[in-house]
Each structure stands twice: as C-alpha cells, then as structure tokens.
C-alpha cells in the first residue's frame, strides 16, 4: 500500500467540492467566505502535490505559486470581511437573501 499523486488529487477534489457547496448554498456572507478559503486550500494541496510528484525542469515552481495564492487569499479575506462589515452597517444584515437591492 502506498500513497500516490492520485490520492492527493482526489482528496483535494473532495475539499473543493465541500467548499463549492458552501459557496453556492450558504445564507451568511461569512460562511461563503469560509467556503472560499476551503477552495483556496484544495487548490494549494493540488499545486504542492504536482510539485512533489511530477517531474519538471522548474522544480518548486508549484510551491512558489502556492505562496502567491496564500498572499492573494490573505488580501482577499481582509477586503471581503471589510465589505461584509460595510454591508452589515448599511443594511443591518449579512443574510444574502436580504441583500437584494439589484433585484428587479
């Protein structure tokens, strides 16, 4: 019994599916952000697994990409939570069913 690339790919696919379910179905803005962080983590595991298992001339390029993904994810989380606070201050709720100003 051994652990191969396929194990990591299927595992990160499971994480991605859970994150996608949360993004598509949750009512609360912070829950949707939790789902987005799960998506980022699933993709990062895939990058690290390919960097480890697949032979290439640019070794560790996958890991460098993960560092940039983590950087952008941190910036995204800060801005998105600031926007959630702003929506709560203006509308009195962060339930996405209630935030329907653009709905005709």
């Amino acid at each position: 019994m051994s652990v191969n690339l396929e194990h990591f790919l299927v595992l990160s696919a499971i994480l991605f599916a859970i994150g996608l379910f949360m993004v598509l179905s949750k009512r609360n803005v912070v829950s949707i952000l939790i789902g987005i962080e799960l998506l980022f983590n699933a993709v990062n595991v895939t990058f690290a697994a390919f960097a480890r298992f697949v032979d290439s001339e640019t070794a560790l390029a996958g890991q460098v990409f993960v560092i940039f993904v983590i950087t952008v994810a941190a910036a995204e989380a800060a801005i998105a939570l600031a926007l959630a606070m702003l929506i709560y201050r203006n509308r009195g709720t962060i339930d996405i069913d209630e935030i329907n100003l653009l709905k005709w």
Binding site: E6, I18, Q63, M85
Partner: protein, 162 residues
C-alpha cells in the same frame, strides 16, 4: 511514498481534514464552523509536510490557521448574535448536486490520466524558494507586496467610521 509512516500519516490527515471540512459545512453555529475551519487548515499544513513542502506548512499555519481565522472570528463578533447561523438557502440540493458532479468529474480525470510521476521528494525548500522569489519571480513578488499594501489601505478605508 511507500513507507508505512507516510501511508498512516496520509490517511490520518485525510480523516482530520475532510471530517473537519464537513463539520465546517454542517454545524449550525458560525463560531464552531470557524473552529472546524482551523482544524482543516492544520490538516492541510500536515499534507504540506507530507509533500516535503516545509516552508508552505509554516506559512499555512501562520497565515491561515493564525491570521485569517482570527480575522473571521473578528467579523463574526462584530455582527450581532442573530447573524451567527450557518444555514443554507433554498439552493441547498442543487448546490449539492453541482458539487458532487464536479467531484465525480475531477476524480475520474485524476484517476484515468497517466501522470508522469517521479519518486523523490525535496531535500530543503526554504532557501530554494527564497532564491526563486528574488530572482526568477521578482516581478510577481513586488506586485504581491503592492497588492497587500493596497488591500490593507482599502480595508482600513472601507470600515472606518466617519
């Protein structure tokens, strides 16, 4: 990765990560959901160690399990108790169907493709990544620093009271 330690570590981390991710999606209270999310982040850091990405594991624990989860707890605490539920909209079952079909597609592709894999891991990654960031990837590195500055100023500007 044929040795027993790697196999045991993989399955233990897989149970921890997937279980706590399912918990984050299933629990009703948002604070508990964030706690489950921290467990998921720690499990992913364990996967990075298993994939001989030690620098990434440290960055994962510092940034995700440390900073981002604290930021989320702050956002939850700044909204009232009534806004702390983790319920789904009417879109629950279609979303579940979409997520499961995507999972099936990715898993089928991953299992049927013939990946050209090699066996060995990396000896040491931190110094190689440091050199790469300041030579090959210096332009994205500088852009990332400007992006972080812009995000910080933007977040402060968005939430400041008049």
């Amino acid at each position: 990765m044929d040795d027993t330690g790697s196999v045991v570590a993989f399955w233990a981390l897989a149970v921890l990560t997937v279980g706590s991710a399912l918990g984050a999606a299933a629990v009703r209270d948002l604070v508990r959901s964030v706690v489950c999310l921290v467990a998921t982040f720690v499990g992913v850091a364990g996967f990075f160690v298993l994939l001989s990405a030690d620098f990434l594991a440290v960055a994962q624990v510092l940034i995700y399990a440390g900073a981002i989860s604290v930021l989320m707890v702050f956002a939850i605490m700044l909204t009232p108790r009534a806004e702390r539920n983790n319920a789904e909209t009417f879109f629950r079952w279609p979303a579940l169907a979409i997520a499961l079909s995507l999972l099936g597609t990715i898993a089928a592709v991953a299992l049927t493709t013939d990946w050209a894999t090699t066996g060995q891991g990396f000896e040491e990654t931190a110094s190689v990544i440091g050199n790469a960031l300041l030579s090959t990837y210096v332009l994205p590195f500088e852009i990332a620093s400007v992006l972080l500055l812009a995000a910080m100023v933007g977040a402060i500007l968005l939430v400041q009271e008049d």
